[in-house]
Structure formats: C-alpha cells, structure tokens
C-alpha cells in the first residue's frame, strides 16, 4: 500500500490520477511549474510543490526536481500520466535506482517498446502480424532502395524512435526514395536525437485500432477490447470510440489474443496499449506499443467498468489482477471528444482566460477536465481543456448523447473545437461508421 504518490504531470490526467488516489485513500503530491500556480491539479491534490519555471524542460521534464520532490516529501511512488516523462525510460530508471516505484512497466521494457525497430522485431518473433518491412534499421539509400523494391511501392519511411508522425515519409516511386530517405533521417535526428529509420509497406486508408492491455506482476494478462482511433489530424487523435464499428467479436478476439501474446511474450506489466493498423480487408498489423495510460482510456472504462488508473496503482503495489479475461464484457458504446483550445478551422491554439463556462452533465456523461471559470489557459503546454466522454446502450444513442452534450458545452473567452466535434457527429460517414485515417482531412 502506497501512502503517498507524486503525480508527475499536469492538466486533466493529473486530476484523473488524484481522483483515483483519493478514492483509494492514498495521499497525493502535485507538482507544478510557475505558470501552473492557479491550475486545478494543484488545488485538488493533498499537497503541491513548485518544481520550476514555465518551460516544460525546466519543470515537468526536470527529472532531478521530480526525484528530489519525492525525496523531500516522502512519496513512495510516481505516476507519470501520459506525455512528458511517461515513456522516458531514463526517468523510470532513475526512479528504480532511488527506490521509488514508477507506476508503469520497467525501464527495460519501456526501452524495448520505445524503439520501433526492436518492437516490430519482437512482435514478429512472437508471430504477431506486421506489415512487410525492412526487418532492421537502415543506414543508406542503396539499402533502402533494395528493401523498398522487395516490399513494393508505395512505402513508408519511419523513425525508430518516432512518434506523432515526425520523421515519417510516404514514398510512391523509386525516383523519390533517396531524397525522402535522407530527409526522414535528418528529421529523426533533429526530433529524437536518433537517426535510425526503417521502411514498411504503405497501407492505404487503414483504420487505427488499439487494444487495451492490463498485466499484473504475477504473469496475469487480460485485454479490455479495442478503441477506434482513426479520426486524427496530423497524427493527433481528436475523437475515439469503443467498440469500433468495424470490429466484430471474432476480430476483437483475434486482435485481443495478439495483444495479450505480445504482452506475455515480453513479460509486460501495468497497463499498456497495443496499436494495430486494420486494412480494408480486415487484416490487422502490429504498429507499436504505448507503455502508459492513454488519453482515451475513459471509453474503455465506460464499456468495461474497469477503473484503469486504479488498476495501474494496484498493479504497482504488487496486487494480483482480480479481473479474468472471461469476465471482461463490452457493454454499450462509448465516445470521447477531446475539447481543445484551438480554432476549429485553422487548428491554431487559443490560450487565454475562460470567461464563461457551462459544463455538460446528466446521464451517461463524463467530463475529465482541468478548467474552471476564470482559469487562464497557459500557452506553454498542450491545448487539451477537457475530455467529454459519453456512454449509451448503442452507437446511435451514444452519438445522440454526445451531440446534446456538445450543444450544452459552452466555453467563453477562448476558441475551442466544440463546433468541429458537432459537425463530425452530424456527418453521414461518421454516423455510418465509415472513418479511416483520412476521415478528418476529407472532412475539413
């Protein structure tokens, strides 16, 4: 049993973790940058400590400050949330060395899954389907061309340490391969400090489907079904749902089995997400694994009834999973809309003071937010204001519920993407479940 957990994050996920801890009787220590003095997570925690100036690098990414905070405040564990240091194996390792429990997998596992070449190799060894690829990191153009010819154009060049679409290049012909390859390498170096790239077959108009995994430290692994995350803009998800309108129980079973096999194969612990591409013929391919809680975890919580953050903490405390795979059921349908401070057309971030606020409520509505009337959204961090999540018996009812909740949501003083979400809810393709990775670019 932990007595006190430090929450190495801010915004809605910090609040989500504080809520779980409070309900479990665990004390919480929030950390904040000088720009976040008035942030809600500092109010809601049992204690709060200023760890640096506004810039993330000097505060939320400041490993020394965080470890020192835990030492002076006697926190036994740290929850990294998502983003910031959540997938930083160095931070996990530092915690391990200081005898602080990092609520997540071991640093070794984070390193393994953090490198996409290693991750794909591991999946392949475990007989989990992957798209045809270079089977290794590539160092020069010649190698790249050889591999690409074998795979067949178009191909995708990706960074081994990549994420968020940076260092990713789509190549249609032999002629453009060399320059794209070199550009990808350069981007990868500048974005991740690691120029390793690999090549895989390009999958046209895929769906982005992820499987939620929960694994304890005693070898028990279950999956909690899938999340449909195809609605993205520049590789940033803005709307997710569970179950996916394209996944039936047989496919769920197969994808779930593959995810569990991977987790078991690497001895994974804590919660994690195995991302797959699903092509038009319903073939699925392992993409990568996220070794942390996801932004969109509430939709899985709604349909399965499992509290994922409490599971994380219980697992970190060494408890055995109470959940068995055969008892996991998917009830109804859940949708999450990420409400961002941004122009709904140009997507330009819109920080500033919230002068009016009406938050939706009523049956089947969950709001995970970090805003209040009078709050000044700082310009330094991501622009997620709140996650609006609904649950209903059917997908159609969930869409109706989300529509009315979005109509209730009123944020004055800054621009938000509420109107974009409303447009999506009324879109024929969306209503028909016809959403692939390009939905939003066709849409806007």
């Amino acid at each position: 049993m932990f007595n006190k957990i430090l929450i190495a994050n801010r915004g809605e996920i910090a609040i989500r973790i504080i809520r779980a801890c409070k309900e479990m009787g665990i004390r919480t220590l929030a950390v904040y940058s000088e720009a976040d003095r008035e942030s809600l997570h500092t109010r809601l925690a049992d204690g709060a400590i200023c760890i640096g100036p506004a810039k993330s690098k000097d505060s939320y990414l400041n490993i020394t400050s965080l470890i020192s905070s835990m030492e002076v405040a006697d926190a036994e564990a740290v929850h990294p949330g998502y983003g910031f240091l959540a997938e930083n194996a160095g931070f996990a390792e530092a915690c391990e060395k200081c005898g602080i429990k990092f609520i997540g997998p071991t640093s070794a596992l984070m390193r393994l899954m953090g490198n996409k070449v290693q991750a794909k190799k591991t999946a392949e060894e475990l007989k989990i389907p992957v798209l045809p690829w270079s089977n290794r990191g590539l160092s020069d153009e010649k190698e790249a061309l050889e591999v690409s010819k074998k795979i067949g154009f178009p191909v995708l060049i990706k960074a081994a340490s990549g994420g968020g679409g940076r260092g990713m290049k789509l190549v249609h012909t032999q002629a453009s391969l060399a320059s794209a390859f070199n550009m990808a390498k350069m981007e990868a170096v500048s974005a991740f400090g690691d120029g390793e790239v690999f090549i895989e077959r390009f999958c046209e108009l895929p769906r982005h489907i992820e499987i939620q995994i929960v694994a304890d430290e005693h070898g028990n692994v279950v999956h909690l079904g899938e999340r449909e995350c195809s609605i993205q803009r520049r590789h940033q998800k803005i709307l997710e749902e569970s179950p996916s309108p394209q996944v039936d129980s047989r496919l769920r079973h197969r994808m779930g089995d593959a995810a569990v096999k991977l987790a078991r194969g690497i001895g994974y612990t804590n919660v994690g997400t195995v991302e797959f591409l699903l092509d038009k013929n319903k073939n699925f391919y392992f993409m990568e694994m996220n070794t942390r809680i996801q932004v969109e975890h509430p939709i899985t919580e709604f349909v399965t009834g499992v509290d994922l953050v409490k599971e994380q903490i219980n697992i970190a405390m060494g408890k055995k999973l109470a959940l068995k795979q055969k008892n996991v059921t998917m009830n109804g349908h859940s949708i999450e809309c990420r409400i961002n401070a941004e122009d709904p057309r140009t997507f330009v971030p819109s920080p500033g003071k919230i002068t009016e606020l009406i938050i939706p409520g009523g049956p089947g509505v969950r709001v995970d937010g970090s805003i209040y009337c009078g709050y000044i959204v700082p310009p330094y961090y991501d622009n997620l204001l709140a996650k609006l999540v609904v649950h209903a018996e059917t997908r159609a009812e969930a869409i109706a519920r989300m529509t009315r909740a979005l109509e209730e949501f009123h944020i004055g003083g800054i621009k938000t993407n509420i109107s974009l979400h409303l447009k999506i809810m009324k879109d024929h393709d969306f209503i028909a479940g016809k959403t692939d990775i390009d939905f939003l670019s066709r849409f806007t």
Binding site: L29, A30, G47, C50, I51, S65, V72, A73, D74
Partner: protein
C-alpha cells in the same frame, strides 16, 4: 486625494460592474480591486513532511514579504531548485552565513540537496544578510525565498 474622494469613488464603483480601477493624477494614484472569483480561490501549497508549516499561509506571507522588501534596498535570494536546505556544508561544520553576515558576490549562502547532490547557492552581489527565511534541513520548492540580503551601495 483624501479618504473622502476615495469613498466617493468607491460609492460610485459599487453601483457599477467595474471590478478593477486605477486612476493617477497630479495628487497621486489610486488602485482598487473589488472582490471576485479566481483571486479568492484557496491556493494549496507545498505540504512538507514533518514539521509542517501552516498549509497555505506561511508560503504566501513569505512571498508578500518578499514583495515588500523588494521595494526597498533589499533583495530576496530564492531556491533555484526543489530540495533540502542546508546552512552548512556538513552537520559538524559552521553555517555559511549568519544573520548580519556581510557577504560578497560569489559567496556561498547555503546548500540545496537534490538527488544526493549538494548544490551551492551563491550570492550574486555584495550585501548583508538581514533575514534567514528557512530553517536548516527544511525542504524547499523552486522559487522559494531563502534569504533577505541588503544590497551594499
């Protein structure tokens, strides 16, 4: 500007929706702020392990003091990091500075321990220590005031 003027202005403001007000004239300056929302929200602060400072207040008061003294010839030295505040290099050694010590630019004022590393905090000007705000061995957060130092002219 005397109290009668101020009262008149306030009486007027009471009938309006003005929440902040500032006026400057030949005979002085007046700034008013009427009670409102966010400002009144309680501010939770660093909850230290034992012995705990009074939650909420201590820190705030320190910061107000800091504001006050800044106006004069006194500078506030703040903690550059989260850690534990030590006045001497080791338990047996004597303190780097005492109340009233004359300090020079570059002189060590204290140590902040973070992750087993001892980080020396140096004074950036010549002056005299007029207040020591934190007890030896206490945890401090980023930006927390440690010393008041009167700058030498």
């Amino acid at each position: 500007m005397d109290i009668k003027d101020i009262k008149a202005i306030y009486k007027f403001l009471r009938e309006t929706d003005i929440v902040e007000f500032e006026v400057e004239g030949a005979d002085g300056k007046l700034r008013l702020k009427r009670g409102t929302a966010a400002g009144a929200l309680q501010q939770p602060v660093f909850e230290a392990p034992s012995p705990a400072p009074a939650p909420g207040s201590a820190q705030e008061i320190k910061k107000e003091e800091a504001e006050k003294v800044k106006a004069e010839n006194i500078k506030v030295v703040t903690s550059p990091m989260v850690g534990t505040f030590y006045r001497s290099p080791s338990p047996e050694a004597s303190s780097f500075v005492e109340l009233g010590s004359i300090v020079k630019s570059g002189q060590t004022l204290c140590i902040i321990e973070a992750m087993k590393l001892m980080n020396e905090v140096e004074c950036e000007f010549n002056g005299k220590v007029v207040q020591i705000l934190v007890d030896n061995g206490q945890p401090v957060e980023y930006g927390e005031p440690l010393f008041h130092v009167e700058v030498s002219r």
